[in-house]
């Protein structure tokens, strides 16, 4: 078991008491917002909206329409979420938005239990427009939607017919809720949103971000925590100690076969988020950025070569090792962020600065 080796926590970054070696642009927040976060949340909102429409059309046709449209729209939404999920600060952690979009990991099977109960009760009030927002977060988001589409009743596997209209209405309602929460994210990140304004223009009078350093610390923390989450939460519990001990069903979004493509999209997203920062290094320190992007590219490349189902990949020794390699690369990438990139920007992680103790 890996238990004693792992910790996950939002590392709290501290401004280091030494001058920064590398430089973030003086308008770092604007670079990160315009160059990455705003387009990423806009894409999620757009994809979720598209998914809701596709599901509605398909359900209305009682499954006569082509199911591929739904599958593609679902995959598009999942890819978009993979590019947003590591922005786990500001709007995404307000009002339980993260949990509403993706209640996972779910060690006690809350989603499954609640969705089953909901389907059994078939209460029309629960799927009325906007009604889900006040229900348990586990029933509101992408894991629940995946469950009804790909598992129980498995709408896309056996065409929705007379026996599954409620599940279909629920799927539409969940997609609508994901779209609504994504719209809120987009609004909060926009130049008109309070968060978007402060993040892009840190100033002494601000409540949230007062200096460019604080924006840099937030960006570094998002990268560091995102890399750790990808490895420690998404990958290692699935891998176990060996191919024999691997457990595909602990993977995120295994039911729809989205695990590996989403991990790849997640890593590419973190790379693009890094790029958007336009960090500059003094001579002799350029290796920091080059190593970090090199590692992220390498991890994504390995994942992009996977075309077999996760279960099969894990059962095959060589496949298991490919994923284990991604875990090692992600660890390297996180070490570079924590030990080189962060201090170069004048930000450090304190020994006692980890949440949860």
């Amino acid at each position: 078991m890996l238990k004693t080796k792992q910790w996950i926590s939002a590392a709290v970054m501290v401004i280091a008491p030494w001058p920064a070696l590398a430089q973030a642009p003086s308008d770092l927040g604007k670079h990160l917002a315009d160059g990455y976060a705003r387009p990423a949340v806009a894409k999620l909102a757009e994809q979720a909206d598209h998914l809701q429409q596709a599901l509605k059309t398909w359900c209305d046709s009682s499954g006569q329409a082509d199911v591929k449209g739904v599958q593609q729209a679902f995959a598009g939404t999942m890819q978009a979420w993979a590019g947003v999920e590591f922005l786990r600060f500001g709007p995404l952690v307000q009002g339980n938005r993260y949990e509403k979009l993706a209640f996972w990991p779910d060690t006690r099977g809350v989603m499954q239990r609640q969705v089953r109960a909901l389907l059994a009760a078939a209460d029309p009030a629960a799927v009325a427009p906007g009604a889900l927002a006040s229900r348990s977060v586990a029933m509101q988001g992408l894991p629940a939607l995946e469950y009804v589409l790909y598992d129980t009743p498995g709408l896309v596997k056996s065409a929705p017919g007379k026996d599954t209209p409620y599940a279909c209405s629920y799927a539409v309602a969940v997609a609508g809720n994901v779209a609504a929460v994504s719209d809120e994210l987009q609004q909060a990140w926009s130049p008109e949103g309070e968060f978007g304004r402060q993040f892009t223009a840190p100033a002494a009078g601000n409540d949230l971000y007062r200096t460019q350093q604080e924006v840099a610390a937030e960006a570094i923390k998002a990268l560091s925590t995102g890399l750790q989450f990808a490895r420690d939460v998404k990958l290692l519990p699935v891998l176990g100690d060996s191919a024999q001990a691997a457990r595909a069903q602990r993977a995120a979004f295994w039911r729809s076969g989205s695990t590996v493509p989403m991990l790849a999209a997640n890593i590419k997203g973190m790379r693009a988020f890094y790029d958007a920062g336009a960090y500059r290094y003094p001579k002799g320190e350029e290796w920091i950025g080059a190593s970090l992007t090199g590692e992220l590219d390498r991890a994504a490349e390995v994942l992009d070569t996977v075309d077999e189902p996760l279960q099969q990949l894990l059962a095959d020794g060589a496949g298991w090792q490919r994923l284990a390699l991604v875990g090692l690369i992600l660890k390297n990438a996180k070490d570079i962020v924590d030990q080189n990139f962060a201090p170069a920007l004048g930000v450090t992680i304190g020994f006692n600065a980890l949440d949860g103790d």
């Binding site: 078991m1 890996l2 238990k3 004693t4 080796k5 792992q6 910790w7 996950i8 926590s9 709290v12 501290v14 008491p17 600060f89 500001g90 952690v93 307000q94 339980n96 993260y98 949990e99 509403k100 209640f103 990991p105 779910d106 060690t107 006690r108 977060v137 968060f195 409540d207 949230l208 989450f229 420690d232 939460v233 290692l236 519990p237 100690d241 304190g350 020994f351 006692n352 600065a353 980890l354 949440d355 949860g356 103790d357």
Partner: protein
């Protein structure tokens, strides 16, 4: 991925060494010279003794120190430690692994006997805090029953020859119990249920941020009966109560971590008197902002009239008047977290950067150990 087996063997080997004299220990573990010179001053202990966990030159250790920061005993650990159960009357202590901790080590303060390694039982891990009961026959530790997702107090046989066998457990009436203290009556435990659900497969990842709710639970140490349980108001459901200290008047002071967005900035320090609602103290707005929603440690001075609360991420220690809840002042210390009573209104404070200072609200801080690159003190610093 390192093998657990190798770690355990190394742990047991190191544990066996810990009972030896510091010189032998140093030789066996290859402690560098600066540490060596400190361990050699073994006999020079002055005043009260303290315990702390640290990372020193890549090794995790628990140490007994004097008030000058000189090592009196070094106990090796297999991984990072956290806090202690203390039994000064019998010269004993237990150090717990940092959460999710799967080990603890019981040792004699004077190193007169080899330490005893405790292993977490199946489906339980330590959260890092514990207490001995006054008769010395039982030791109680906060633990996570992680498959069931509930907090428990593990009860260990601390009697002579009991070998720290786990003899039972009490439920804490909440999730994620962190620090536990024993009230002055000697029979009531107060537990800070942090409210955060975690599972060791996912490290410290919070699994219930949407529904989390912290509480203070008062539990009868003899039979585990839940005597009183208080929560903060619903709007503060993401405020995790984690660390505790007792004031002279018996009030329980607590320090919190806020798991909500940074834009929310609730008060992080509070006081609870039995039979009353908990009170929260915010202090000045800018000081609170600088705490960045995180208090790492709480201690009362020896007179129980001044409470120190540290924020390592805010690089500051805050002092409070236990009677009025007024903030008395702050000490700036980078990554400063461990606070321990020294004299009335005076504390020892250590840091993740290796510093040790004497500080308090009334006078400026005095350095005892300067920051050192190979040395990091863990969150907690306790006086025996």
């Amino acid at each position: 991925m390192r093998s657990m087996e190798i770690d355990r063997r190394r742990f047991l080997a190191l544990t066996a060494l810990a009972g030896l004299s510091p010189a032998v220990l140093r030789a066996a573990t290859g402690l560098p010279e600066d540490m060596a010179s400190r361990t050699d001053r073994l006999t020079a202990a002055e005043g009260p003794l303290y315990v702390a966990a640290r990372k020193a030159h890549g090794r995790y250790e628990a140490v007994v120190l004097d008030m000058q920061g000189r090592d009196q005993l070094v106990v090796p650990m297999p991984a990072r430690g956290h806090s202690f159960a203390l039994d000064p009357a019998r010269g004993r202590a237990v150090v717990f692994g940092r959460q999710p901790g799967f080990f603890a080590v019981a040792f004699r303060i004077d190193g007169s006997r080899p330490p005893v390694a405790l292993k977490a039982v199946s489906e339980r891990h330590f959260f890092g805090h514990g207490v001995y009961l006054p008769d010395g026959k039982r030791m109680v530790a906060t633990e996570n029953a992680y498959e069931a997702g509930k907090g428990v107090l593990g009860i260990y046989d601390a009697s002579e020859g009991g070998d720290y066998r786990r003899i039972g457990e009490f439920e804490t009436g909440g999730i994620g119990p962190h620090e536990v203290v024993l009230l002055p009556d000697g029979k009531t435990l107060c537990v800070a249920n942090g409210g955060i659900l975690t599972h060791p497969d996912y490290g410290k990842l919070e699994l219930n941020l949407d529904t989390m709710r912290a509480s203070l639970a008062y539990i009868d140490a003899n039979d585990g009966r839940l005597i009183e349980r208080v929560e903060l108001t619903q709007d503060l459901h993401r405020l995790s109560i984690r660390h505790l200290a007792l004031a002279a008047d018996g009030a329980v002071w607590f320090g919190c971590q806020h798991m909500g967005p940074a834009s929310e900035r609730p008060a992080l320090v509070g006081r609870h008197r039995r039979g009353h609602e908990p009170e929260l103290f915010a202090g000045p707005e800018d000081v609170l902002r600088d705490c960045r929603n995180y208090i790492g440690s709480v201690a009362a001075d020896p007179a129980g009239g001044v409470i120190a609360t540290s924020s390592p991420v805010g690089n500051q220690v805050l002092y409070w008047d236990a009677a009025s809840g007024r903030m008395l002042g702050t000490t700036r210390l980078s990554d400063g977290c461990g606070v321990a009573p020294l004299a009335p209104g005076r504390f020892l404070v250590n840091s993740g950067m290796g510093a040790l200072v004497q500080a308090g609200p009334a006078a400026s801080a005095q350095s005892i150990l300067t920051p050192s690159s190979g040395l990091s003190w863990d969150n907690h610093f306790r006086r025996l």
